[in-house]
């Protein structure tokens, strides 16, 4: 991951912040979780 500690692994190339296999409500929960991970990474100086 090119040395950065602020990379969050998305669900896949075709839907980075979603998952077409999930029902809409669950997909949105997943998206909230991924965005929260990104915000957590932005607030951290730790190497992960």
């Amino acid at each position: 991951m090119v040395g950065s500690n602020r990379v969050v692994l998305g669900t896949g190339i075709v839907h980075v912040t979603g998952d077409a296999k999930l029902p809409p409500a669950e997909e949105k929960d997943l998206r909230r979780k991924l965005v929260q991970q990104a915000l957590d990474a932005l607030q951290s100086n730790e190497k992960r």
Partner: protein, 346 residues
């Protein structure tokens, strides 16, 4: 031949760091390393003038400095523009590279710079310029200037320029045809055998080198931060108004999302030839997670979601191009007071 030379305040003999804020001085004739450079050239060659500028001034007033140098060179023609050697001095390297690039593209005057490999000027300008590898030690000054002189002379008279290893410049990412004695298979086996014997060998496909980018400090208070969404997945409004190419994109766009809680399928399309775009076209939030971030804005998790998202297509794009796109986006990000960016990449 007539040569113009660019030096920073230190090598130009004005002074050390305390003079880094000094503006441009133009001296007639050679100064400092320029005198040594002149001695390595032919009897008819001379450094006709030397531009000297403080490092801080140069990077903070790049446009003014470039304009002043170009104006002088339009009035008094030269055959070659040289800058440095800058060794490890980063601000010096960035200014030298930018000036060489401008002189070359605006005036058609060949330019040569010299820097150490880690100098940020190399990464910024190696695609456009011949930059001699100076190493980091000023002890090599004479040797570096000799390489600059040799290459500069070839550029002026139009002689063929050798490969980077022969001339001592940083690879520019060019491919060129060359006749060789052995086939690829034989060369490859030779390399493999050398590797097994622990002998030195040279790959014909050196990997792209990235200069490490320092990680910015963490956002202290996200509830006060302005967050922006950027994507390289090619999401664009219907009709692709900025005509962002689906491969090797040369452009990016910024698209208004003010007052929207969700990205609707009917408003967007995807310009990207590198992945199956149907899922994102079905629901663009799968690439640009507006709905989730808007909720977080309303709940006070983030201070504000920026009113526009930026988008380009990251497929099969040369580094020289993506770096420019990145720099252009960065300018907007800074101008608009954005504190944090979430960039989604396919």
């Amino acid at each position: 031949m007539r040569i113009a030379h660019y030096l920073n305040q230190f090598f130009g003999g004005i002074g050390a760091e305390e003079h880094a804020g000094k503006g441009l001085t133009i001296r007639d004739g050679a100064v400092g390393p320029g005198k040594l450079f002149e001695s390595l050239l032919g009897a008819d060659d001379q450094v006709v003038f030397t531009f000297i500028c403080g490092d801080n001034y140069a990077v903070e007033n790049q446009a003014e400095l470039t304009a002043a140098v170009l104006e002088k060179l339009r009035a008094k023609k030269v055959d070659l523009f040289v800058a440095g050697p800058c060794f490890e001095a980063g601000r010096y390297g960035m200014a030298a590279g930018a000036l060489c690039r401008a002189v070359q593209s605006e005036l058609g005057i060949p330019a040569v710079a010299a820097m150490s490999e880690g100098n940020p000027g190399v990464d910024l300008h190696r695609d456009a310029l011949y930059i001699i590898d100076s190493g980091s030690s000023t002890v090599k000054m004479r040797e570096v200037l000799a390489k600059m002189a040799k290459l500069g002379r070839k550029l002026i008279v139009g002689d063929a320029i050798g490969v980077p290893a022969e001339e001592g410049y940083f690879r520019r990412g060019w491919l060129r045809d060359q006749l060789v004695e052995k086939t690829a298979a034989t060369r490859l086996v030779d390399m493999l055998l050398a590797k097994m014997r622990g002998e030195p060998f040279e790959s014909e496909m050196p990997p792209t080198a990235f200069v490490p980018v320092p990680i910015p400090a963490a956002v202290k208070d996200m509830s006060k931060a302005k967050v922006m969404l950027i994507t390289d997945g090619g999401l664009v409004p219907k009709g692709n108004p900025d005509r962002i190419e689906g491969t090797a994109a040369t452009r990016w766009g910024s698209y208004n999302i003010k007052g929207r809680d969700d990205l609707r399928a009917e408003d967007y399309e995807v310009s990207h030839g590198g992945y199956d775009t149907r899922f994102v076209e079905e629901d663009p939030d799968r690439l640009v997670p507006l709905d989730a971030l808007r909720e977080m804005e309303k709940n006070g998790v983030i201070g504000k979601l920026h009113d526009e998202f930026l988008s380009t297509c990251g497929r099969s794009n040369p580094l020289s191009n993506t770096r420019r796109l990145g720099r252009e986006m960065l300018k907007k990000v800074k101008q608009e007071g954005v504190d944090a960016v979430i960039l989604t990449s396919t």
